[in-house]
């Protein structure tokens, strides 16, 4: 039995033992009392105590997650650092199923006593919920697993000396500000290490460590009575510091800054229908909103009706294998295994093993995203008796529920590039990077913008445009896709913060895709005069 006091003492000893390495590394290890691949004995014990207590109090099923989250944020504007923050959050959340109703409770008191108390509280909450639960929860079976996993990285971003991070951001800003017309530069780094131990009454006991990095860069140019910004699409990834350095922010900053300056003199777009050529840096978010969210089974069943919304891909019995979602070129894969992706894991927050499966096959809707308490509802329709492993909670103090895996557009068979698509287009607009985005609560009507837009005439880029947004209806849009890139043009985008649920939770998710062309899409002009 390890008490909390003993645990902290052990942590302190561990820190002393780390002395002799660099100043930074030593201090970092102080902040990170455990970081082993085999799981932390104290976390294991606390989690196991919790589920036993829930069981003793009458739960038919329980799981406990001990989570430790290390986050580091650094922000810079122009020649100065505007924020350096290092945070840690540690706690335990316990979920209990009692007579078919869920209860959840969480505390930052990660001791055996705290775990028992919070487990009993979860059971009490479940009993209260039982009075207003008429359809008992049924869980899809999953084998018990034991083990550990960590994001493979060459260099843990939290361990990189802070001086190096600060120097990188200031140098990138400096390089951008040399470009004529550019007045402001903002850059930042969001770095995360998340350690989770999960124990379930099904016999699962696992520990996972996730590493994620999210660099950012925006420049603003000022003209006479006008200002234009450009944000580079630096996809956050489930990768190490080596990914950040591979982006060469300093070397590329002048190029990005020049785009902002050029936007000041770009032509304002004429409204109308154009062939839209979407670069992967823009298309990933369109996939996220118009395919990722509507294919969540909890949404389709109305569980998000009061907040994030429902889905046009409902009811399941009328959709699976029957709904034409898009053109035959459209094959959309869901997975939690893709290298460097944000939602990659070995097991989800219910201990279900990560896998990949098709959501859309040759343009037809094929399957949903599921968790254990949703999968049984469609097992007779899709023939899948297990959860697809989409359970995730963004913190120890939030309850796990269905969150999006990586959802990606698979490349076409031909070795097509964006240049080939441009060459094949008579009158079109190329859009790069994410701009504004908005979609309705059933995921039909969407309107997206970008960061940079180019006019295409007779197979060639003829100039830069501004004030562009495209507006479409999901099935029409995907039905109009008539040309897509090949493997070589595949790129993995993503977001650190996808919101869903009440209370709101944020998850990280990646979307891989190739450039694609969509015929005759409505383009609007977003400029107004004050």
């Amino acid at each position: 039995m390890t008490s909390r006091r003993d645990f902290l003492k052990t942590a302190a000893i561990g820190a002393v033992a780390a002395a002799g390495t660099s100043r930074i590394a030593r201090a970092e290890s102080l902040l990170n009392p455990w970081s082993s691949d085999t799981g932390d004995p104290m976390a294991n014990e606390v989690a196991l105590s919790a589920i036993q207590a829930a069981k003793d109090a009458g739960a038919s099923y329980s799981d406990a997650r001990v989570g430790r989250y290390r986050r580091q944020f650094i922000a810079a504007r122009e020649h100065q650092i505007t924020g350096v923050n290092d945070s840690e959050s540690f706690g335990i959340g316990v979920r209990a199923l009692v007579n078919g109703a869920w209860g959840f409770a969480a505390t930052r008191d990660v001791s055996r006593e705290g775990a028992v108390r919070v487990a009993q509280q979860a059971v009490k909450v479940a009993r209260a919920a039982r009075a207003v639960t008429h359809t008992p929860v049924v869980l899809a079976p999953t084998p018990a697993v034991k083990g550990s996993w960590r994001t493979p990285v060459q260099q843990d971003p939290i361990d990189v000396p802070i001086e190096d991070k600060v120097a990188l951001l200031l140098a990138a800003n400096e390089a951008a500000l040399k470009v004529p017309g550019v007045r402001f530069a903002n850059s930042g780094l969001a770095l995360l290490r998340e350690e989770k131990t999960l124990a379930t009454t099904d016999g699962t006991l696992i520990t996972q460590t996730f590493v994620r990095v999210g660099p950012s860069f925006t420049v603003t140019a000022i003209g006479d009575g006008d200002f234009q910004s450009y944000t580079e699409e630096m996809a956050p990834r489930g990768s190490g510091w080596e990914y950040v350095t591979s982006l060469d922010m300093v070397g590329n900053a002048p190029k990005w800054a020049a785009i902002a300056a050029e936007k000041l003199t770009a032509k304002s777009v004429d409204v109308g229908r154009y062939d839209l050529i979407l670069d992967p840096t823009n298309l990933w978010l369109t996939i996220h909103e118009s395919v990722g969210h509507p294919t969540e089974l909890d949404r389709a069943r109305g569980y998000e009706a009061n907040y994030a919304g429902t889905s046009f891909v409902a009811p399941p019995e009328k959709m699976i294998g029957k709904l034409k979602y898009g053109s035959r070129l459209m094959n959309i894969q869901a997975d939690r295994i893709q290298q460097d992706s944000l939602s990659r894991c070995a097991w989800d927050d219910e201990g279900v093993a990560a896998e990949s499966w098709l959501l859309i096959k040759d343009g037809m809707f094929h399957d949903y995203q599921t968790v254990r308490d949703q999968a049984p509802a469609i097992a007779s329709l899709n023939g899948v008796n297990h959860s697809h492993g989409c359970s995730f909670a963004d913190s120890w103090d939030t309850v796990q529920f269905q969150r999006m895996p990586n959802v990606s557009l698979l490349p076409g068979n031909a070795d097509t590039t964006i240049d080939d698509i441009i060459a094949d287009t008579d009158r079109g607009v190329v859009i790069k990077n994410r701009g504004s985005w908005s979609i309705d609560q059933q995921r039909y009507n969407f309107q997206f913008s970008g960061q940079v837009f180019y006019e295409v005439r007779k197979g060639k880029i003829t100039g830069m445009l501004k004030d562009v947004a495209y507006q479409a209806r999901t099935p029409d849009f995907w039905g109009s896709m008539d040309m897509i890139g090949g493997k070589r043009s595949y790129w993995l985008g993503g977001t650190f913060s996808d919101g869903k649920g009440e209370p709101g939770q944020s998850s990280s998710v990646s979307h891989g895709c190739v450039p694609a062309r969509f015929r005759q899409v409505n383009i609007i002009n977003t400029a107004r005069s004050v």
């Binding site: 102080l30 650092i81 959840f104 505390t107 000396p161 046009f312 009440e502 004050v530």
Partner: protein, 458 residues
């Protein structure tokens, strides 16, 4: 619960303990302690319910003109010392901050009583009872219903939070504020999937919420909104209910940042330099303010620096009266800081109030020849900062008004419009009411609101 609402004394003792560990030139400690309970429901069943508690401590250290912070929720001495050391180490490694303003010394605060025991007492059983009341009311038979209300799909969310915030500096400042807030929202959908209605309420006290009334209202909207017809997108007179106004108008707050305006990158920057301070920017019936002492807002009387927050009138009778000045920008410009971090898209800690008129929503409808009634909005995003142009969609109850009456349910629209430009096209203003804790908004009637396309979503 272990962390239930840390008292003033407990928070001050904790802050002193942390400050005693510090060796920096200046140190600030921010503490937030929260206990929250929530219950979520869908298909008439509770789907998740939980109780959580946490205390988060943030330490900001300044060493030789350099500043950094670290945050932890571990409260034993070793962990706190580690957090202090981290903040100091990060500060030493950071470059000098040319915009650094010194931490504040002792300040005078006026107390705001923003806590209600009926919120902290709202346990899982009481929440379940409230949800049951709501669902029962939504599904109650009554009147000539087109469909059986018992078949309505009802989903929603109830959350109750008790929290305390504290700020302490090594220069002797200490500020403490406790508050509660509660909110209940629900969406009722007809079984044929053609009708959807929404209702919500919230405030600092549970008495602000009537679960049965919310259930009835959402159900009534769902039934009335069945089988919507499409009308052409275009410019319409709209009546926005207070919830829709609360979704839309606070989008202005980010543009109120003084520095952005001075730097030429805000809707309140003037061509050729300077800002629009003192200029008439919207209809003269518009007055918008933040005030922690307003009994309708009961906001936090200080910001995260510990700066006392006062009443700030942003727009008065249509004139831009104030921009949001951070302490740094205020010093540079020789004005008083407004606090609150210098603006942002979201809420001000002191609350936000758009002053209202005397008319009810029904009276606004009665005075409208042709228009669109909007229940609330969804997925609002910025399109152009130069004009605060936003996009979003209507949702859960959109109706056509003809000759002073609601005549039909209409399909939802996507809109592209700006709160700034909309308030300049104000036609009428309804009664202001609390929408959620710290937010008071009226209903508004706006001319020529731009609906750009139809949405098939219900």
């Amino acid at each position: 619960m272990a962390d239930t609402l840390m008292t003033r004394d407990a928070m001050q003792t904790l802050a002193k303990r942390i400050l005693a560990m510090s060796s920096a030139d200046e140190t600030r400690v921010n503490i937030s302690s929260d206990a929250a309970g929530n219950t979520r429901f869908a298909a008439g069943d509770i789907t998740t319910s939980g109780d959580t508690e946490d205390t988060v401590i943030s330490i900001t250290s300044t060493v030789g003109g350099r500043r950094a912070s670290s945050t932890t929720n571990l409260m034993d001495d070793a962990s706190l010392k580690r957090a202090v050391d981290t903040a100091e180490r990060l500060a030493r490694l950071s470059p000098q901050d040319p915009e650094l303003v010194p931490e504040l010394g002792p300040q005078q605060y006026q107390n705001v009583d923003a806590s209600n025991a009926d919120v902290s007492d709202l346990n899982a059983a009481s929440r379940a009872h409230a949800v049951e009341q709501l669902i029962t009311a939504a599904r109650a038979p009554g009147g000539a219903m087109p469909i059986d209300p018992a078949t309505l799909f009802v989903a929603g969310f109830l959350e109750a939070r008790s929290g305390a915030r504290g700020v302490a500096t090594s220069k002797g400042l200490f500020a403490y504020h406790a508050s509660t807030d509660v909110s209940l929202s629900c969406t009722a959908r007809t079984p044929d999937g053609t009708g959807s209605g929404y209702a919500s309420a919230g405030g600092r006290a549970w008495t602000a919420v009537d679960p049965g009334a919310l259930g009835r209202r959402a159900a009534q909207k769902a039934l009335a909104s069945r089988n919507p017809v499409a009308i052409e997108p275009g410019r319409y007179t709209v009546i926005l209910e207070p919830r829709a106004v609360a979704d839309f108008i606070p989008g202005l707050m980010g543009s109120l940042n003084a520095r952005s305006a001075d730097e030429g990158r805000s809707a309140f920057s003037k061509k050729g330099g300077g800002t629009k301070l003192g200029e008439k920017i919207v209809d003269e019936r518009i007055t918008m303010l933040s005030d922690p002492f307003d009994p309708d807002l009961r906001g936090q009387p200080f910001d995260s620096d510990g700066l006392p927050l006062k009443r700030v009138v942003w727009i008065e009778n249509g004139v831009l009266k104030n921009l949001a000045y951070s302490r740094f920008w205020a010093t540079k410009k020789g004005v008083e800081p407004t606090g609150g971090g210098g603006g942002g898209f979201g809420r001000n800690p002191a609350g936000l109030k758009l002053a209202g008129g005397t008319k009810s929503v029904d009276e606004l409808i009665a005075g409208t020849d042709r228009g669109v009634l909007v229940t609330h909005f969804f997925y609002i995003r910025s399109l152009d900062q130069r004009t605060v142009l936003l996009t979003g969609l209507t949702r859960d109850g959109t109706f056509l008004i003809e000759n002073g009456k609601i005549t039909k349910s209409i399909k939802n629209f996507r809109w592209n419009d700006s709160p700034l430009l909309s308030l300049a096209r104000l036609a009428d203003i309804g009664k202001a009411e609390p929408v959620e804790a710290g937010l008071v908004m009226p209903s508004l009637k706006i001319n020529d609101f731009t609906f750009s396309s139809l949405s098939d979503a219900v």
